[in-house]
Symmetry: C2
Subunit: 329 residues, 2 copies
DNA sequence: CACCTCGATGTTTACGTAAACATCGAGTGC
DNA sequence: GCACTCGATGTTTACGTAAACATCGAGGTG
């Protein structure tokens, strides 16, 4: 900056005024400064700015994996909306979902240049990490039940599951089977609970639950078991990847979807419409989740006040060709 | 820091020594400082550190979208390896793949606290952006042909495509049809070129190319057209999503895969093994791409010397159940 | 025992920026 | 015409840290 000032024949303060767009610099001076900046390839040092302002204009995002569609789509929405607000995203990957790693991430967080953190937390690990959030750093959590301590933004898992089950019951199925996600997952847990309570509300029998790990392979295994259940005519699968596996298992076992068995997924991934048959599924609005996260976290940063409570983003059932009335129904 | 020093009864320099782990602080003093740090919830200000050191220990990643499996997996690998090296990732999303937006991202880059940039660039847009990289910022590009100006890291697209075509020819197919990715994509272009040259090397006819946009839906449309080509017995599809669409189109048209038509994809996404039938595809090692990117970029940062040239990451054909000898072959 | 060495700790300074305050000159009102 | 105002610009300072240098005392050595 000093070089620019010297070249333009002004003080560094004037350069600063030009680069921050402050008023009170007359046109000709501004031009000279801009010319000098271009000539010297000057770019403001954001470290010095951050030091001066006491804020980084940066949001940290802690997440376990990007391999799930949901996480990467949410992250993308977060990054886009943060950019619109002049903030930048710093990624803090946590290798494996263990307590240690998570604590490590929070510790590293302490040294990081972030004003706030969005935690995309799929598993029941947040409890021990409570204390570790550095003071002054605001937190928003996705996919968790920590609404009593932090602002939580999440898809309305329960309502989505209810819509799926209702759709199948409305078609005339006596009951609905369920392939759930892993036991550690909040989302899986809530989808399963809503599935169960909806069946119970309607006085339907509650078949045994199979747990997968979100992967298509685990869905395939669960599907093979379901194919052996003669009275299984409708399945609600906790995500689309596993639903893909279920479809293949049923297909391989000679059970035709949707003639013999109806299948509903969850997520509405981009490929769901190209499954055989195209999958009826619960659409999650990941973009909205990301947007709400950024809004909530920036609100906290601006006001300086931590928030609690849960923000739910609604879902929508997308009916395609994997569901039909039960055979003989 | 001053508060900690006061509380511990030492100078701020000693606190600095403790927090950076420098030697030359005796045990008892160190303990007092650590205690004071804990008591006051002290965390070092990374802006001040960055200012002092003249580096941010941050790598910017410019990308268009996270919705493709490849991008998010690459990003994940980049983040993980960067973290291992003590670096952090800042995301610079570029809304739409237009020249303007890209230049905007590079401009924003100028104000950003990054030591280097990894550009994940799927389209032919880098040319105009050449000049815009701020001086002193090192660049690595993924998926591009800018190897004469920057270090490029990429999957060996050509070899992958050759493996796919060879596999089908070896099975006895007379020729191989191709569903390509969008025209703007480097990767799509190279896969298509290698497909064509491999056919030509073997003196096989080169059927007309269909272009999709990477989506399953576009693959479905291409697949419907291919189903009408009576002599089409083998298809190489430029990615797995489109292959999924092709499979559905063939299935819907009564052409059985692999009995009537063989299909090979590209990417080996997690779901490929659960397609109907499980997809033979070219496995891309996104983790290796990400790792190489980080290695290259940190090498440049450390030496201060820009690099050029292309680093290729090899692929591997994963044979599943979507390929077989041609009917009657 | 004076001197030297060396390890532990304190003091000064600089990193690049922008707020706060100071200055300076030109116009304005009486 | 003189004090006053106000806009444009310069000067000083502080942000939090760590390198460089300074100091100080303990222990060793001739």
């Amino acid at each position: 900056m000093a070089d620019v000032a010297r070249l333009a024949g002004v003080s560094s303060q004037t350069v600063s005024r030009v680069s921050t767009g402050h008023p009170g610099v007359v046109g000709t001076t501004r031009e000279q400064v801009l010319a000098a900046m271009r000539q010297l390839g000057y770019r403001p040092n954001s470290a010095a700015r951050a030091l001066k302002y006491g804020e980084f204009r940066t949001i940290g995002v802690i997440l376990f994996t990007l391999s799930s569609t949901g996480n990467s789509r949410t992250l993308e929405a977060i990054a886009t909306h943060a950019a619109d607000a002049g903030y930048v995203i710093t990624l803090i990957p946590v290798g494996a979902p263990t307590q240690d790693r998570l604590l490590g991430a929070f510790t590293r967080l302490g040294e990081l240049a972030v004003d706030a953190v969005i935690v995309i937390m799929e598993v029941h690990l947040l409890d021990a990490a409570t204390v570790a959030v550095p003071p002054g750093v605001h937190v928003v959590v996705v996919d968790s039940d920590a609404g009593d301590r932090y602002r939580v933004v999440d898809t309305d898992q329960a309502d989505g599951a209810r819509q799926a089950v209702h759709h199948l019951l409305d078609l005339g199925h006596r009951t609905v089977w369920h392939v759930a996600g892993p036991r550690e997952s909040y989302a899986a847990e809530r989808r399963a609970l809503a599935w169960r309570s909806t069946l119970e509300e309607h006085g339907r029998p509650v078949p045994p639950v199979r747990h997968g790990d979100w992967s298509a392979e685990s869905g395939y295994r669960a599907g093979l078991e379901l194919a052996d259940e003669a009275d299984c005519t409708a399945v609600f699968v906790a995500n689309d990847q596993m639903a893909l596996g279920v479809l293949r298992a049923l297909h391989g076992s000679g059970r035709v979807v949707p003639r013999d068995v109806s299948v509903v997924g969850f997520d509405d991934i981009a490929e769901a419409g190209a499954f055989i048959p195209p999958l009826t599924t619960v659409h999650q609005d990941f973009a909205a989740v990301g947007r709400r996260c950024v809004e909530a976290v920036l609100r906290q940063v601006r006001t300086g006040t931590p928030e609690t409570g849960t923000t739910l983003v609604s879902t929508r059932l997308v009916v395609r060709e994997s569901t039909a009335p039960p055979p003989g129904g």
